[in-house]
């Protein structure tokens, strides 16, 4: 009798275990589209056998734990690829904007430079022409406008980036705090001997997002808590304590600070990774470099024209006049590329003549100025004004092309790693269906087993009648 009741009990465990397994399958199917969800499985083991006389007979089956399919290596790979992907993403929007500003259409600074010198060439054929003189001044103003236009566009791009950085930081602080909360929960659940699968999955998703955005580094401590650091080593999450990133506006500039346990740390671009690093690199290095080149061009250009212009004579016979505003007179906060301004107020001041008589047909100074276009080399380079500018545009093109390639490479790599992760941790409907059939069969057969034992008990009870 004892053994029949044992069998009844064993059948019960089988019924419950298969049912539990089906529930796990159900959870898997339910989470098939949940980002970061790791497939769970019920770990089964037979209940330790008891000694019946000479035999050890099993006591049924039990679910010992619900574990998740998880591969630390793949997840770490995914995290580090996300950092790379994030960095390129952070660059790509601004680079697309920069490509628009430094375009290769017909309407750009190079065209304005060409037009300016063309006006001087036209003036050489009729140095006394009032119209030609006015056109030279006008072309100079257009050129100044073009310089200013580009400079303003660069300002706008940087302002947009600052706005984006500030908006992004708010969301990131939420995520950092959430990691700390999940740490707390995981350690509490797991100290009680259970596994906090869902919380770990959620934390992994956040980790990936934070890697992409900030390039965070992570390590897990012995309580199962993950600690997050910025690439420079500043702590973002320590156990259940989260730091806060704040944005500080300084004029038009935005920089970051980190509030860690009551103290404030300056976050420099080199302390960052991922999208933020990409954005700061473009803003503080790439665009700054472009500005510097534009300023070099503006300074060199106005100086070269002024030098020639000063040696020439206006049709009023006056010499020594600047054509453009002298950059040496600018204050320390004035941007040269914003101050390419024609200072002549009247066509008669245009120094076309090379001789003090300033005879109407004298075109010597105009010839010399026109020849600066191909003859002058920007200081410290072998470039004409035009080729110096084309170098700036090519720099933007090279960086944008590199970014596009790197971005699509990183995207492909993350897609591949996500596939790899899915191959390990993901939910496949086919697999779950087959498991479902398997556990259903298990459930059915244990029910049949119970019915059989029940019949056997009935048979025994019938004996007495």
């Amino acid at each position: 009798m004892t053994s029949l009741l044992n069998a009844l009990n064993a059948g019960k465990t089988s019924l419950l275990t298969n049912q539990k397994s089906i529930e796990v399958v159900g959870t898997n199917i339910a989470n098939i589209n949940t980002a970061g969800y790791s497939r769970q499985r019920a770990d089964l083991s037979d209940v330790p056998a008891l000694n019946f006389g000479d035999f050890f007979i099993g006591q049924g089956v039990a679910v010992t734990s619900v574990s998740r399919d998880y591969n630390l290596f793949i997840n770490q790979q995914l995290q580090s690829k996300s950092i790379e992907y994030g960095e390129e993403t952070g660059k790509s929007n601004s680079l697309a904007e920069l490509e628009r500003v430094f375009n290769i259409g017909k309407d750009n600074l190079a065209t304005q430079i060409n037009e300016f010198f063309d006006a001087w060439r036209e003036l050489t054929t009729n140095p006394n022409g009032q119209v030609e003189r006015d056109i030279v001044i006008q072309r100079g103003q257009f050129l100044g406008d073009a310089f200013q236009g580009i400079t303003t566009e660069l300002d706008t791009i940087q302002q947009n980036m600052n706005t984006e950085i500030a908006a992004e930081i708010d969301g990131l602080n939420e995520k950092i705090a959430e990691v700390a909360r999940l740490n707390e929960r995981i350690s509490m659940v797991e100290v009680a001997g259970q596994s906090a699968n869902a919380a770990r999955d959620q934390r992994d998703v956040l980790l990936n997002e934070l890697s992409e955005a900030l390039g965070v580094q992570s390590y897990t401590d012995n309580r199962g808590m993950v600690n997050l650091l910025l690439p420079g080593g500043m702590p973002l999450v320590q156990g259940n304590m989260a730091s806060t990133i704040t944005t500080v506006s300084n004029g038009t500039d935005v920089h970051l600070q980190l509030q860690v346990a009551g103290s404030t740390l300056e976050v420099f671009p080199e302390n960052l990774g991922g999208k933020m690093k990409g954005m700061f690199t473009i803003r503080d290095e790439f665009i700054a470099g472009l500005r510097q080149d534009l300023n070099t061009l503006a300074r060199d250009f106005t100086e070269a024209i002024n030098t020639e212009h000063r040696s020439g004579y206006g049709s009023d016979g006056v010499s020594g006049r600047d054509f453009f505003l002298d950059m040496a007179t600018l204050g320390p906060n004035d941007v040269p590329s914003r101050n390419v301004r024609v200072v002549l107020t009247d066509g008669s001041q245009v120094a076309a003549a090379g001789n003090p008589a300033a005879a109407p047909g004298d075109n010597e100074a105009a010839l010399r100025i026109a020849q600066l276009e191909t003859g002058h080399k920007v200081a410290g380079t072998k470039d004409t004004f035009d080729s110096f500018y084309s170098t700036i545009v090519a720099t933007v093109g090279i960086e944008a092309a590199r970014n596009r390639l790197a971005l699509s490479g990183a995207r492909d790599a993350t897609v591949q790693l996500q596939n790899l992760r899915d191959g390990y941790s993901g939910v496949s409907l086919e697999e779950e269906m087959i498991d479902l059939i398997q556990f259903q069969r298990g459930f059915e057969s244990s029910a049949k087993f119970l019915a059989t034992v029940d019949e056997m008990i009935s048979t025994l009870l019938e004996l007495k009648r």
Partner: protein, 324 residues
């Protein structure tokens, strides 16, 4: 490794993304007919493209400048032709005057006709194009030559231009224009050079102005010949005849110089026109999309997109769920 639903849909999504993006790029290429739409399409083409565009702009300007130069040169040449005629006629008149059978009245008629030629020469020397005097040097707004009211044959001094029969109010600068990159060429003759036989001219100090050795002052030659006829001095007439020939020769020389320069401008112009075609071809190689290549590629991508879309729609039909 198993293929999950997420893998399948992720791959389909990313592939559809890629194809659509490529198709978008190619459509842009197809509609603009340019393969260079932004610097990153080919960063190494940026420099050459800007440079070629600059050169093309130069070509247009040079061709324009050379056209204007040729106008000036042609106008100048026809005036020099006229000067040639004047000197020829003057020689004929003096030769006539040397004929001993002429009486004083005949000689006065001849001298008067020389005086007329002198006025013709003055008119030629003061000719203008578009309101700019051709032979005034840089002083193109000033009538270059004027009769000297103070002229006195007895006070004539070859080394003092204020005693000459005609005064020059222009200067000694010929107009120079850039006709090809770095090459400048004088496109006209100065009055002092052509009519006074001197390449330097100091308007402030007349004693600094003298006809260069071996060269001629055309106005003086005509005036002296006329005076010789009026004075019936056959020696002076003989000398005048020789001077007139020398002066005509001087005119021919300068005319030939100008002709050479005009020929140079013409070849340079033809060269610029050729350069324009070459430059446009090179520019096109950098910028323009091959229309057949582009459309073939677009069709290829469209086929790929169709295949990807049709596979996407079929994927959901293949599942164990359909067999349970």
């Amino acid at each position: 490794m198993k293929a999950t639903q997420a893998t399948t849909y992720r791959m389909l999504g990313s592939r559809l993304d890629d194809i659509s993006r490529q198709l978008e790029d190619m459509r842009l290429m197809g509609t603009t007919n340019k393969k260079l739409n932004r610097p990153s399409d080919n960063p190494s083409a940026v420099g050459p493209v800007f440079n070629i565009r600059q050169q093309l702009a130069h070509v247009d300007r040079y061709v324009d400048t050379m056209g204007k130069s040729l106008d000036t040169m042609q106008a100048t040449d026809s005036h020099l032709d006229h000067v040639e005629n004047i000197m020829q006629q003057a020689k004929e008149i003096v030769t006539n005057a040397l004929n001993g059978a002429l009486n004083e009245e005949d000689r006065t008629v001849l001298a008067d006709s020389l005086a007329n030629l002198r006025k013709e020469l003055l008119a030629t020397a003061n000719s203008s194009i578009n309101g700019r005097y051709l032979f005034a040097g840089y002083q193109e707004n000033t009538v270059p030559f004027a009769e000297n009211p103070a002229y006195d044959p007895l006070l004539f001094n070859a080394d003092d231009s204020s005693t000459w029969p005609y005064l020059y109010q222009g200067d000694a600068h010929a107009t120079t224009l850039e006709i090809t990159p770095g090459e400048t060429i004088p496109i006209n003759l100065t009055g002092s050079n052509l009519f006074f036989g001197t390449t330097s001219w100091d308007p402030a100090d007349p004693t600094q102005n003298a006809t260069e050795p071996g060269r001629y002052n055309l106005f003086v030659t005509l005036t002296r010949a006329e005076e010789a006829i009026r004075a019936n001095s056959s020696d002076d007439m003989q000398a005048g005849l020789a001077d007139l020939e020398g002066a005509a020769q001087q005119n021919r020389q300068l005319r030939a110089q100008l002709g050479n320069r005009a020929a140079r401008v013409e070849t340079a112009m033809a060269h610029q026109e050729e350069t324009r075609v070459d430059l446009q071809q090179i520019l096109s190689r950098y910028e323009d999309a091959d229309i057949f290549e582009t459309f073939t590629a677009i069709m290829e991508q469209e086929t790929a997109l169709q295949a990807a879309l049709s596979i996407t729609s079929k994927v959901s039909q293949l599942s164990i769920l359909n067999y349970l």
